[in-house]
Amino acid sequence: MARLSGILSLLSALGKVSARHVRSFGSIGGQNLFLFVAFVALQPESAAFFGEILLVVLLFPLSTDPMQALPEERRSTWPLGTWEWAAVRVVSLLLSPIVWIGVALALRLGWQLGALAIGSGVVIQLLKKVAKRLPGMTGGWLLWVPAPPGATGAIMRLQWRGMLRTLDPYVALVLSGSTTLYRFSGMPVDAEAPRIMALVTALALSTHAQVLLGIDGPGSERYLQMPLRGWQILLAKDLAFLAMLAVLVAPLDFEGGVLGGIASLVIGHHVSVLKVMPQVPWRFTAGALIPWGLMQTVALFAVGNAVRALGIPLIAGCLLAWVSSVVIYGWEWDRRAGQR
């Protein structure tokens, strides 16, 4: 009886871990794209497209094995027998978030979709296990991210790494990639579609403009000890953000996408410097949606849409606002750094 109670307690703990794991994806509520999806949800078929993209990206982090929450060393010290561990192993599979999603999909949209979700989860788990055994595969690909020369380059690499450890760039990549493929597939495309999708791609990445320092977690304290001025740190981080954005929007609408990104940086600096928000790796970036995310979204779409009509004066105005923002918030960072 005591053993059964032990197993149930263990499963209950694993259930709590799984539930917390799922709740950690609530960070999407602070992602600017969420605001946009909520807006387009007024037109259900458009919302379905974005919903599918989010689901594809979420499939990887949601395909977890709850037993991984129990460290091997701890497992081996607990007084449970082989059969008891086997029971925990089997039941724990039902606690994986991907199984819940599979069941929900099966009940609402048919068993084939449910089976596809659970099957994908199993394949992803197997791939993760294989990757763990290969040297350099567990995050090793991040080592390929290059560092441009100098202090600016070293911080740019750090920023790219931080960004690539969140889900935002992957949503942006799927948005940009799928639109590009569709555009070059020969199927009819609305003339405005590439520009709009470039702006949506920029929006998917724009929450990062609010967490330029928070993305480094405990490491952000290191900037206080570096012999660099605030503007130098912000500039390096901005350049990294814009370079990644430029690659993503280049096949769609380079000018509109990058200028939209600059607008989101001008507003994002305020939150980045005044409210350093640490981020959880492999989740969506969580910023301050209201009012800053909303302001970023409006500015990004306004600037990105107007650039063709207004041309050089708008570009010059945006660049001036950006440089001013880097200088002002860089100074603010220096000022606050000495006041902690």
């Binding site: 070293a154 750090l158 952000s220 902690r340």
Partner: protein, 245 residues
């Protein structure tokens, strides 16, 4: 040289550090001792310009603590270690070299030596979030040493390290102090402090209770500590061990 006069830090009503004054001569190693929560880390943060003092002044190597140039002359091992999860051990040192404007070849050569001396070579390409606590501490320490600072602030440099590395660091600290570097460290490992420090400053509840050269202490460091800073008390947990009898 490091000097502070009447350094105070208040958080609302609570005074974490009150009126602390002491001086450390160039080329000396001073150990700042005290129990957890005594105000050691707050004091170190104020001396390195990471926290503004509520009152008092401090100078490091002739520079006021609010002088931005201070960051170029001090090396800091912070309590939080302040490392980046997205970088490997080796990349932390590359970043430090780049930020302090060292030539790539110089950074590379210093990195090689630091990794070797601190026995970190095997972890060079390991991401920080995959490192043990000891490896993280050594990485943060290597970052403090790499720019060749004139003053070093080390918050618990020996804690969490294996004895060989701790002893290696002790020997290195003695060597760099002889070359004129001023070192302020905090630690709870009194046996190591006894062998590395020239001076000891003990604080309790934010106030200095002893400031003396180690050789001038009337009793052993350990005895002085327990006499001035904390007394030993341990409640007996009678239930513990009852299953064995």
């Amino acid at each position: 040289m490091i000097s502070c006069r009447g350094l105070t830090k208040a958080f609302g009503e609570f005074q974490a550090v009150s009126g602390v004054s002491f001086e450390i001569q160039a080329g000396s190693i001073c150990a700042l001792l005290g129990p957890n929560g005594a105000g050691k880390s707050t004091l170190v943060r104020m001396l390195t310009g990471l926290m503004r003092a509520s009152a008092g002044t401090a100078e490091i190597c002739g520079l006021a603590v609010d002088n931005p140039e201070l960051k170029r002359v001090v090396g800091v091992l912070p309590e939080s270690l302040a490392l980046f999860d997205a970088l490997t051990v080796g990349e932390h040192l590359e970043l430090t070299g780049a930020v302090y404007g060292l030539k790539t070849s110089e950074t590379r050569s210093r990195t090689e030596q630091l990794l070797r001396v601190l026995r970190l070579e095997h972890g060079r390409n390991t991401f920080i979030h995959q490192c043990s606590y000891g490896m993280k501490k050594k990485t943060s320490l290597a970052m403090a040493l790499l720019p060749n600072p004139q003053a070093l602030f080390l918050d618990e440099p020996f804690e969490g390290l294996d004895p060989i590395t701790a002893e290696t660091i002790r020997v290195q600290l003695r060597a760099i102090a002889q070359r004129g570097v001023t070192v302020l460290l905090t630690s709870h490992i009194l046996s190591l402090v006894d062998r590395v420090a020239d001076q000891v400053v003990m604080i309790r509840r934010g106030e200095v209770v002893l400031d003396s050269a180690i050789r001038d202490l009337p009793k052993s460091l350990e005895e002085s500590y327990f006499e001035r800073v904390e007394t030993m008390t341990a409640e007996d947990m009678e239930w513990l061990g009852s299953a064995a009898s």
